[in-house]
């Protein structure tokens, strides 16, 4: 009988993943900035949420989720925990969350990334999958924001420019 052993290969380190995520967050921040104040809170296509609402969803996930992962709390996700009334407020909160994300992300051990956790008491997946979901969800919604900008006749930022 032949035994086949497949060596486990590392794809990326946690430091590289955090830098990648913060690069995306910086691009999303510039996308928020490009919206005219009124359109940020009101413009919509096909019954979807305005971009401010999508950004608030992202703010409600990243930092709070990482805090929950570290403290092993399963408190539910609160979509309406933060309700900005203008772009400046939204950007200020965005920047505060940058530090929250850096703080809590760096506390997660290599072993923990592989452990299953019931995030927000609802999403029971390995921690690395939950974190990839935060980033994917941000890229997904920002892509939608790019369509809003194009529909408004505004050229979005370059997708490949991150910092």
């Amino acid at each position: 009988m032949t035994t086949t052993t497949t060596a486990t290969k590392q794809f990326i380190t946690s430091e590289q993943l955090l830098e990648h995520w913060q690069g995306h967050r910086n691009l999303t921040r510039r996308t928020i900035e490009m919206f005219p104040e009124k359109d940020l809170f009101e413009f919509s296509i096909g019954g979807m949420r305005p971009f401010a609402k999508l950004a608030v969803e992202l703010i409600g996930i990243g930092g709070p989720a990482l805090k929950g992962i570290n403290e092993k709390t399963t408190e539910a996700y609160h979509e309406d925990a933060f309700v900005p009334t203008n772009k400046a407020e939204l950007l200020k909160k965005w920047d505060e969350e940058t530090e929250v994300i850096n703080h809590y992300f760096n506390m997660i051990s290599e072993e923990r990334f592989q452990e299953t956790f019931n995030l927000f008491g609802q999403y029971e997946f390995p921690v690395y999958q939950n974190i990839l979901y935060f980033i994917d969800n941000e890229i997904h919604h920002r892509g939608q924001g790019f369509v809003y900008l194009r529909a408004l006749g505004i050229e979005p930022p370059f997708f490949w420019e991150r910092f």
Copy 2:
């Protein structure tokens, strides 16, 4: 003098990344399927490309890029190497590329992910960054496809359902 040593933590293995990517590719496939034939090739918002064009871009990147990384060729990216005339052709090619991606991705060593490579003779970055870009670019464009579907009055697939 105090020396601070930061241990390098693995975030994910290459096997986990490939599964993650193919999950996204499966969701994109279902997004293509949901478009009415005509709209797939013609519907557009704000002067953007129809979803078929975006899907063809994705097909032109994943497999060919991984082949280039493995064979260390710097042949340019060809946007028009594949021009489908209907949805079935597009989906057939999509499925063929699934195998191409699996084949070439698995040939990349752990060390190689960290090496810089001039992809398509144009994008000189560490291999892991190039691969993350392929996935991000797909999520970005699929998010745009979701807006097209909503604007067409069609409910997109669930973002979190991958397989």
